[in-house]
């Protein structure tokens, strides 16, 4: 009797203890995530600058962006193009290099470090500065092209090349995705390959029937995280190209920043942020829904 009450007491204590440990998270989530999330939705229906109080204007912000704002669609187009260029490029390199690095080689940790390094530094102002200098007309990229007999290119003067040069900066940072693929490769049981070898399967065949299917959950995770990040890219567009030329790199993150913090149109910018949110949500939902057709889970599919 005494024993059972003490056990009861202990488990009750443990409940409170558990809640106590996650309390910072609950407060943080309510104050710094949920409240801003809700109020951003509300602000998107208001006319609001930092100097005067908000007034409710219904759907006007949304109507304005779709019918009048000359930069809304160019910005959306630039963002989608950037996502489409950078994310597949990044994940492609990450996967290929991870597969090669997973084989037994000398100096493997040196290679891993070299490939990871751009991910460490890539988001910094220093690398944005570097990228700007590399792709200027007399920068090293052109000097290299000239040295192999190709004429210099005006990277930041031609829209399609400008978006490519900032996408390249993102692709260059494939190391963090690569490390996750590597971790996944390490978990693939060796005997699967042995069975494949006995069956006489080629290396390529084994990649497509063993390695790739078992990596799809990680591919899925990488795809979601990198796409969510790419949709919000700001630093490169702001520091390297400043949106130009002809708004070809006027990414949505840059538009959002300018409307909110340079033109002080907080209500309108909130509406813009909700469009971005909807784009990201749609992508995420499609990815999750399509998951059952292309990802492979050992335990039936739990993310």
């Amino acid at each position: 009797m005494i024993r059972s009450t003490s056990i009861f007491k202990r488990s009750e204590n443990r409940q409170w203890a558990g809640l106590l440990y996650v309390l910072p998270f609950i407060i943080g989530m309510l104050v710094f995530k949920l409240y801003p999330f809700m109020s951003s939705f509300y602000y998107s229906f208001t006319d609001f600058s930092l100097l005067r109080k908000e007034t409710f204007i219904g759907l006007s912000n949304y109507v304005y962006m779709f019918t009048k704002d000359p930069l809304f669609f160019p910005s959306l187009k630039a963002t989608f193009l950037y996502v489409l260029l950078s994310v597949p490029g990044k994940l492609g390199f990450a996967l290929i290099i991870a597969v090669i690095l997973n084989m037994k080689l000398k100096f493997i940790s040196l290679y891993r470090t070299i490939y990871y390094l751009p991910s460490i530094l890539g988001g910094s102002v220093a690398i944005a500065v570097l990228w700007r200098s590399m792709f200027t007309v007399d920068g090293i990229v052109n000097q290299f092209l000239i040295s192999i007999g190709i004429p210099a290119v005006n990277w930041f003067g031609i829209p399609s090349l400008a978006i490519m040069s900032i996408s390249l900066l993102t692709i260059w940072q494939f190391g963090s995705s690569m490390v996750l693929f590597l971790a996944g490769l390490k978990q693939i049981p060796k005997d699967m390959y042995e069975a494949g070898t006995i069956d006489g399967a080629s290396k390529l065949r084994m990649f497509f029937s063993i390695t790739f299917p078992l990596l799809t959950p990680i591919l899925f995770f990488n795809l979601i995280m990198q796409t969510v990040n790419a949709f919000q890219e700001f630093t490169a567009a702001f520091l390297i190209t400043n949106g130009g030329p002809l708004n070809s790199t006027y990414l949505f993150g840059l538009k959002l920043y300018q409307d909110a913090f340079q033109f002080s149109k907080m209500g309108y910018a909130s509406a813009l942020s909700w469009i971005l949110f909807i784009c990201i949500m749609l992508f995420t939902i499609i990815a999750f829904k399509s998951q059952k057709y292309w990802t492979h889970y050992e335990d039936g599919g739990k993310f």
């Binding site: 443990r14 203890a17 558990g18 809640l19 440990y21 996650v22 998270f25 943080g28 710094f32 995530k33 801003p36 999330f37 951003s40 090669i100 690095l101 084989m103 080689l105 000398k106 940790s109 290679y111 891993r112 390094l117 751009p118 460490i120 530094l121 988001g123 910094s124 102002v125 220093a126 690398i127 944005a128 500065v129 570097l130 590399m134 200027t136 007399d138 090293i140 000097q143 260059w172 490390v179 996750l180 996944g184 959950p217 995770f221 969510v228 949709f231 700001f234 630093t235 702001f238 949505f252 993150g253 920043y257 909110a260 913090f261 907080m266 942020s273 909700w274 971005l276 739990k302 993310f303």
Partner: protein, 280 residues
């Protein structure tokens, strides 16, 4: 057969080396450009220069305006160090709660945490700015430190939950037998074993906060309080193309702390990511 294997192995090494050299070349070029005289920076792809000058470092460090890079570095440390400490402590406590206890609403809270992992910062940045303004936190480092203290980085919580789940529960139970309370179990038994996860989180957070540009740009507005990222951007703006050597030199200096932290922690770092993985 063995010949073929040897060739393909050689091929791989050649590929990895050439590809790695291309990837690392921009960083090496930046380093070499910072020591080159101005006129050589844009005239050659070579990493070698005719003369070796460190003036660009001396002049760049002084900065272009009233405040130099000593101020910006000091500011960055004031911003980054408390943020890292707050992140690690709060994430570990919350992860411990999720990994080892049962309490009402736990599953819902855990799902919410995963959902906030995908909540874009861009959506909440405007209300956050207004909130911090009403708290009087603008132009200070509180917008970085306080949210970190309230475990607003779900990525780290998730990583630590995964790690803690991998540690055997027998450890906790035997500690209970010895009369440890739950907090003591965390600090005396689980924490020392969680070093890879803790170090990885600290390294990530250090590098992210150190390199952070967007939030710094929004929340910090007096030059006196600029962290390195904003200081560097200012020197780029004011000097534009006139002294690239100094800009390159300060770019190099600005990434050194990240490199040092990364190389110091590399062993734990790779291990931490590999063991926590993302299989859940």
């Amino acid at each position: 057969m063995t010949m073929r294997i040897r060739i393909s192995r050689m091929g791989r090494i050649v590929f990895l080396t050439v590809f790695g050299a291309i990837l690392i070349y921009p960083i090496l070029w930046m380093l070499s450009a910072s020591f080159k005289p101005m006129h050589e920076i844009f005239s050659t792809v070579s990493l070698l220069s005719s003369q070796f000058q460190i003036n660009s470092y001396i002049n760049g460090w002084k900065g272009t305006g009233q405040f130099g890079f000593s101020t910006f570095f000091f500011n960055s440390l004031l911003m980054v160090v408390p943020t890292v400490i707050a992140t690690v402590i709060s994430s570990l406590l919350v992860a411990y709660g999720f990994a080892r206890f049962r309490f009402p609403g736990k599953n819902m809270l855990f799902s919410l945490m995963i959902a906030t992992l995908m909540l874009p910062n861009a959506v909440i940045i405007i209300p956050s700015y207004l909130l911090f303004r009403s708290f009087g936190w603008l132009d200070s480092y509180w917008p970085f430190i306080i949210p970190a203290a309230f475990a607003t980085y779900p990525f780290f919580i998730f990583m630590m939950v995964q790690f803690l789940r991998g540690l055997p529960r027998d450890l906790d139970e035997s500690a209970v037998m010895d009369g440890c309370n739950s907090f003591k179990i965390l600090t005396h038994i689980l924490l020392p074993l969680s070093k890879p996860a803790v170090v990885s989180a600290a390294v990530f957070q250090f590098i992210w906060t150190w390199n952070d540009f967007f939030n710094s740009l929004i929340f910090i507005n007096s030059v006196k309080k600029y962290p390195v990222s904003l200081g560097l951007r200012m020197s780029l703006d004011t000097s534009s193309i006139s002294n690239w050597d100094q800009v390159m030199a300060m770019s190099v200096v600005s990434i050194i702390p990240c490199l040092v932290v990364f190389f110091m922690a590399q062993r734990y770092f790779v291990e931490g990511i590999a063991t926590t993985g993302i299989k859940g």
